[in-house]
């Protein structure tokens, strides 16, 4: 059993007291502002102007796929090497590194799924002022200007994006400690040793923490100009609006994975995860910038229209005299190199596809993971689990996963069970399995330093712990007290970690136990900004270089462990709090420790939308709010919102009263039951959306501009509950009651549902489908139906059904979209509901074998809803239904 040693207990208690008492708000003093982060302050001190960098055109080398060119900083004569690639799928990659760095600079591994394929570049023209390269198709060109150095990417006469147009390219070259040369930017800058200290170049302190910075200054920075762009999105994770704000009057958006206690809304502070991807959207074109750097990063955004009112913009337009709108962006990172992927769209879906070709798509989750998850810190013991499980049956509410937080372990030793509270975990898991339900148990990356703990001993003996600056195993405080942090950047460490999930290693586990990785920023209670010291050592690299990657690696290794334990057969399900570009490949993320407040419910929407835009579709927020206790109304509304977000999990803090769905009176139980059941009827649609996200990288939860980049107005929408039809291009006030959720199906779409809601998603496997066909003004509609076994990787072996459902000319038909795939299902078409229909005289079903039969139907003239009774045809076959 867990016992704190005399020395560790007081510290932990002190930390808990500090963090759990106090008023409700983030303690901003715990986290750096740009001014308190030495490199950010240094870089931000540079103002737009002439760049000291000059392209040395005589050094240019152009092969079929690559252009290289040296840049020189005229202030300090340090040379950089520019590499430029044209990538397949309308992307341009720009890499800038020191030509001859003192030692190698970190380049982010394991994020790109493969070395991106290149396309030929060709030289269009060249003179002493610059070079023009063709980017192949679509009259796209790159203009490299020599003095000062800048890059402009053009299509026809239009500039799509300019780099270093504001002269903010900066590259702090590695140097010897005694070196007095600085690439600070302003010309002729030399400084004394004292100034070095002031600048925090070789040492930096924050609160009581000192960062030794043995490599000295190493920051990089580059600006991007986006002509014609007024809206930029992405760079999660921030608790902020979907559309990013300008940062002129405050701090830049910060990307640095941090465990922020009781985070505050609507500000650019860093949170648990970081995806350095920004999307820029205007009506005709969407582009993206992927800044592949895992160090602490800050992003400044400014706009020439930011201060203008709508009237002011109109005035500009009428007078025709104004400059075009433009957004300027500037990225600053603490170390590494400049490696940026410019995704040129032109449509939002093209950008998703381009980004997906670099970092992969959303992993295709097991169907059950798309169901409802019941979590709490903590379900106390096996009896508690059994009674909550029974509560769902008693109240006829479906769920798929029940979750165990840290208290289930033997003294916060992950991979173990508390021997009193969870004496027979296999029996518990079997009882869940008997109801076709599953469990998630938490496994955090901090490992209790305890010589009686197998996991700790193995990691220590294998030398797998991250090292401190002096070479010893790094130790920090976390839930178990003193803890070590495995070096997940090491492939051998990750392989070992994965092997720990084998059934014979992780005792008491079974096929229906899945994993949750929390605290993987990593969270270090007594570390600077509640995370790891930047001078901690991962082999050849500093933690500084890899920080934002740590969480991705933890989830990667855990997901790999789950795959391996089943011999590569079963899909994993792993939830993570920290993430980076590419994390979408390993599972789900949630928005961390939110609070039971209406504003937190509201912000869950832009937070998940932002994540979806940068590839991470499987996103959700703690339903009900983690900290504090929700009012009943807030809880019900949160369920109604969460049911329509990709990851649907209720969670609650240890200190809050119980809030299982049936604890708020029969009326509220009924409201929650109803919305969870709505989620389950829509599982076929969600699942098909996940498949689509897995195939294309398109987000599941999308802002309207993604779907309608040019805002067409000629749609109709149907209320999915009442079938009330609303025409597009108007503002509507929709009255709501506690039971109504404004959900609309667009005219022109077909949505498959399963109306027989059962105890869990697995119980519904063989159930029949109801197709909801919403007709548009042209009286057509399209949709898809995807079916597979719901849990294995066999879909990769083409074992699935993928059909296109389309309605046109009074005929609804199902045709095979994947003729090379094969799967058989017992599910059949139970009912077809056509919204916006007129009354037919006869409805004929024709099956693949040519047989025809008449279908009974029911027509509701008041709502124009036609219901076809029991077509009965197998969902995997060809068929059509003709309305006459």
């Amino acid at each position: 059993m867990a016992t704190f040693t005399g020395s560790m207990a007081p510290v932990l208690v002190l930390w808990l007291a500090m963090s759990l008492s106090g008023t409700w708000a983030v303690d901003k003093g715990n986290f750096k502002t740009c001014d308190q982060s030495a490199f950010c302050k240094r870089q931000r001190a540079l103002k737009p102007g002439d760049s000291p960098y000059r392209a040395l055109l005589e050094t240019m080398e152009l092969t079929n796929t690559r252009l290289t060119l040296q840049l020189i900083n005229d202030n300090n004569k340090v040379r950089l090497l520019l590499e430029l690639y044209r990538l397949q799928g309308n992307m341009t990659r720009v890499k800038i590194n020191e030509l001859k760095p003192l030692k190698p600079r970190f380049e982010v591994p394991d994020v790109l799924i493969t070395e991106p394929s290149t396309e030929p570049l060709s030289l269009l023209s060249q003179d002493e002022n610059g070079v023009v390269l063709s980017l192949g198709t679509e009259s796209q060109r790159v203009i490299i200007s020599a003095r000062p150095f800048r890059l402009d990417i053009m299509e026809g006469p239009e500039v799509l994006m300019s780099l270093n147009s504001r002269g903010l390219l900066a590259f702090e070259h590695l140097r010897m400690r005694k070196d007095t040369w600085f690439s600070k930017g302003p010309p002729g800058c030399t400084s004394s040793k004292e100034e070095e200290k002031v600048d925090g170049m070789w040492e930096e302190t924050f609160k009581s923490h000192s960062d030794s910075k043995p490599n000295g200054p190493s920051a990089i920075s580059l600006d991007f100009s986006l002509p014609g762009v007024e809206h930029v999105y992405g760079i999660p994770e921030h608790a902020d609006t979907l559309r990013l704000k300008t940062t002129d009057n405050g701090d830049p958006y910060r990307l640095y994975n941090l465990d922020v206690f009781q985070y505050e809304l609507y500000n650019p502070m860093a949170l648990y995860g970081a995806v350095p991807v920004m999307l820029a959207h205007k009506a005709q074109r969407t582009t993206g910038i992927f800044w592949l750097n895992a160090a602490e990063t800050w992003v400044d955004i400014s706009s020439n229209t930011a201060g203008k009112t709508v009237f002011g913009k109109m005035l500009d337009y009428v007078q025709g005299s104004s400059e075009t709108p433009q957004t300027d962006v500037r990225w600053i990172s603490e170390s590494g190199i400049i490696d940026v992927f410019i995704m040129l769209g032109p449509t939002p879906k093209d950008v998703f596809s381009q980004y997906a070709s670099l970092t992969g798509t959303q992993s295709f989750p097991p169907l059950a993971a798309v169901g409802y998850h019941q979590c709490r810190w903590n379900y106390n013991d096996q009896e508690d689990v059994a009674s909550v499980d029974a509560g769902f049956d008693e109240h006829d509410i479906p769920y798929d996963y029940i979750w165990l937080d840290i208290e289930h372990t033997d003294g916060k030793r992950y991979f173990t069970w508390d021997s009193h509270k969870f004496a027979s975990p296999k029996e518990m898991l079997q009882a869940l399995e008997d109801k076709k339900r599953k469990m998630v148990a938490i496994v955090d990356p901090h490992i209790k330093v305890d010589s009686n703990y197998k996991i700790h001993n193995e990691i220590r003996n294998k030398g797998f712990y991250i090292k401190n600056k002096d070479g010893g195993d790094y130790e920090g405080w976390c839930w178990p007290g003193s803890a070590g942090y495995p070096d997940f950047t090491r492939p051998d460490m990750r392989a070992w970690w994965a092997s720990m999930f084998a059934y014979d290693q992780y005792e008491g586990t079974a096929e229906n136990l899945y994993t949750w990785n929390d605290m993987n920023e990593p969270s270090v209670f007594n570390g600077p900004e509640v995370t790891m010291h930047k001078d901690a050592v991962h082999g050849a690299w500093e933690h500084r270089d890899v920080h934002n990657l740590y969480g991705l690696y933890v989830q990667m290794a855990t997901a790999e462990g789950q795959i391996q334990r089943s011999g590569g057969v079963e899909r994993p399900f792993v939830l993570t709090r920290a993430f980076f570009a590419g994390s979408q490949r390993y599972g789900a993320v949630w928005t961390g420790d939110n609070a039971a407040e209406w504003d937190h419910l509201k912000v869950s929407i832009p937070m998940c939308l932002s994540l979806g835009l940068v590839g991470i579709s499987f996103c959700g927020a703690d339903v009900g709010g983690f900290f504090k206790s929700p009012s009943t109304e807030l809880l019900v509304r949160w369920y109604q919102t969460g049911a329509y977000q990709p990851f649907f999990r209720a969670h609650a803090h240890l200190d809050t009263p119980r809030r299982e769905p049936w604890l708020f009176g029969p009326e509220n139980t009924a409201l929650i039951r109803d919305v969870v059941r709505q989620r389950y009827t829509l599982l076929p649609y969600w699942y098909q959306q996940f498949y689509h996200a897995y195939r294309t990288g398109e987000p599941i939860m999308r802002p309207l501009w993604v779907e309608y980049p040019q805002d067409p107005a000629t749609f109709v929408w149907f209320d999915v509950h009442t079938f009330q039809k609303h025409n597009g291009a108007q503002s509507l006030y929709i009255p709501v009651t506690m039971s109504s959720i404004p959900v609309f199906q667009r005219g022109g779409s077909i949505i498959p549902r399963k109306m027989r809601v059962r105890r869990s998603s697995s119980c519904m496997t063989h159930d029949p489908y109801t197709l909801y066909v919403a007709l548009n003004l042209q009286r057509t509609a399209e949709g898809e139906l995807y079916i597979d076994d719901g849990h294995t990787f066999n879909y990769e072996k083409k074992e699935f059904i993928h059909r296109r459902l389309s309605f046109a000319k009074n005929m609804l038909s199902s045709v095979n979209l994947a003729t090379d795939a094969e799967f058989s299902t017992g599910s059949w078409i139970e009912r077809i509901v056509i919204l916006g229909a007129s009354k037919p005289s006869k409805v004929t079903l024709k099956t693949a074998d040519g047989q025809e039969s008449q279908l009974e139907f029911d027509f509701d003239a008041s709502m124009s809803v036609l219901t076809l009774r029991k077509p009965g045809v197998n969902a995997g076959l060809d068929w059509n239904v003709m309305l006459q």
Binding site: N380, D384, K436, T656, R756, R759, S762, H766, E830
Partner: protein, 430 residues
């Protein structure tokens, strides 16, 4: 003979219908007589009879699909021969999980369900028998506790009456004392005098000299004070009413059974004059006191002290009375059967006070809730819900903390045994 025919008819219908209609109880069979059409039980719609249990929901009330999972509001009847019949939601029909012990819900699924009704029935019967034994035993114990409770109740009532009597007496006394004190105050105002020198503060109406006091105590005037005489004239300051015991008197006499004037002067006199534990009794018409002596300062103080003592005694008794009344006002159940629990401690004594009975109307004494307990670390206060169940011993069976500082206790006691349980028993269709 008429009777027999009805039986036969019912049997015949039952035979025909049960072959066709899955998932209904016998009481519903009348709705499913095979005809050309079926009227939804809510009367909302008529459908062809072939559409009953055809795996498509036609009736809004789900009545056309009692045997399939087609209707969202439907329910399926498990006959469960050998055990208890019951309804399950239609959504549990053919979901791959065995819900009816007779396996009738999984007639078209991959689940391999065994008929477990007989085993379950056996187990249930054994369990119920055990419960019945516990109940019998529990009820007997409960009767004893009720009797004890009644006795205890009466005892407490008697105690209350006694206390009330004492209070009445004290009140009389108090009034008397008050008037005396008022008198003293009045006299003082009329004849203000300087305080007298000497030892005169202690006694009322006495010559407070050594010899005078000795003479007062020496009732039989034999020149020595005896135990009897001390007992008659000396009292404890804080309990004037009580007669000193022989030992106490002997102690005052310096361990002897008598005392002469010389010894008195150096021992007991000192004790009496120093205002210690004992004093000369307030003697009404004692020998040597012929007429009301003039009141002095000492007398007023004497009166004040005495009044205070009586007031204190009166307050104490009244507090005891209200305490007892409060305890007696608690709801100990209709037969005072829970009275024996008063001030008992079962392992986890969280509260000193009696909680609120908050069971459901049918079993009001089945649950007790304690609120506003000790403050919880993160705000709020502790609360406990105690569930009382029938058992042969009184003991705490489990304590849980489902949410922080909110406890649930399972408390077993014979007192929670309800005779009504006996009437239920087990119903099985054997």
């Amino acid at each position: 003979m008429h009777f027999h025919m009805i039986i036969v008819a019912v049997f015949w219908f039952g035979f025909v219908d049960s072959r066709k209609i899955r998932g209904i109880s016998s009481s519903y069979k009348r709705f499913f007589r095979e005809r050309k059409s079926f009227l939804c039980i809510d009367g909302s719609k008529i459908i062809p009879f072939e559409q009953v249990n055809d795996d498509y929901c036609d009736c809004e009330d789900g009545s056309d699909e009692p045997g399939t999972s087609a209707c969202p509001q439907g329910r399926f009847y498990c006959t469960n021969l050998g055990f208890r019949p019951h309804y399950i939601p239609s959504s549990r029909v053919n979901d791959g999980i065995c819900d009816c012990c007779d396996a009738s819900d999984e007639y078209n699924s991959h689940a391999h369900c065994q008929n477990a009704c007989w085993n379950l029935g056996q187990r249930e019967r054994a369990y119920v028998e055990g419960q019945m034994r516990t109940l019998d035993e529990g009820l007997q114990l409960k009767q004893q506790l009720i009797e004890e409770g009644v006795l205890l109740w009466r005892e407490k009532q008697a105690q209350l009456r006694e206390l009330q009597q004492v209070a009445e007496d004290l009140q009389t006394k108090l009034e008397e004392r008050r008037s005396r004190k008022q008198e003293a105050d009045r006299l003082k105002e009329q004849t203000p005098r300087p305080p007298e020198a000497g030892d005169g503060r202690l006694f009322r109406g006495q010559n407070s000299t050594v010899t005078g006091t000795f003479k007062l105590l020496d009732s039989n005037k034999d020149g020595s004070i005896t135990v009897d005489e001390v007992q008659a004239k000396v009292a404890l300051v804080h309990d004037e009413e009580r007669v000193l015991s022989e030992d106490e008197a002997v102690a005052l006499l310096g361990g002897d059974h008598q005392m002469d004037l010389t010894t008195f002067q150096h021992t007991l006199w000192d004790i009496l004059t120093n205002g210690g534990r004992v004093k000369i009794k307030d003697t009404h018409g004692a020998p040597g006191v012929g007429e009301d002596p003039p009141l002095k300062v000492a007398d007023r103080e004497w009166e004040a002290t005495n009044l205070k003592k009586v007031e204190e005694a009166y307050d104490t008794v009244n507090m005891e009375i209200s305490d007892l009344r409060e305890k007696l006002a608690i709801d100990y159940g209709p037969d005072w059967e829970f009275l024996f629990l008063n001030s008992q401690c079962y392992k986890l004594k969280v509260y000193e006070r009696w909680g609120m009975w908050e069971g459901p109307p049918k079993n009001q004494y089945g649950r007790m809730v304690y609120e506003n307990g000790e403050p919880c670390w993160q705000g709020g206060s502790r609360s406990t819900t105690v569930t009382l169940t029938c058992g042969t011993e009184t003991a705490l069976r489990s304590v849980k903390e489902p949410s922080k500082c909110q406890y649930i206790m399972d408390f077993q006691t014979p007192v929670a045994c309800q005779p009504v349980l006996k009437q239920r028993g087990i119903h099985s269709e054997l």
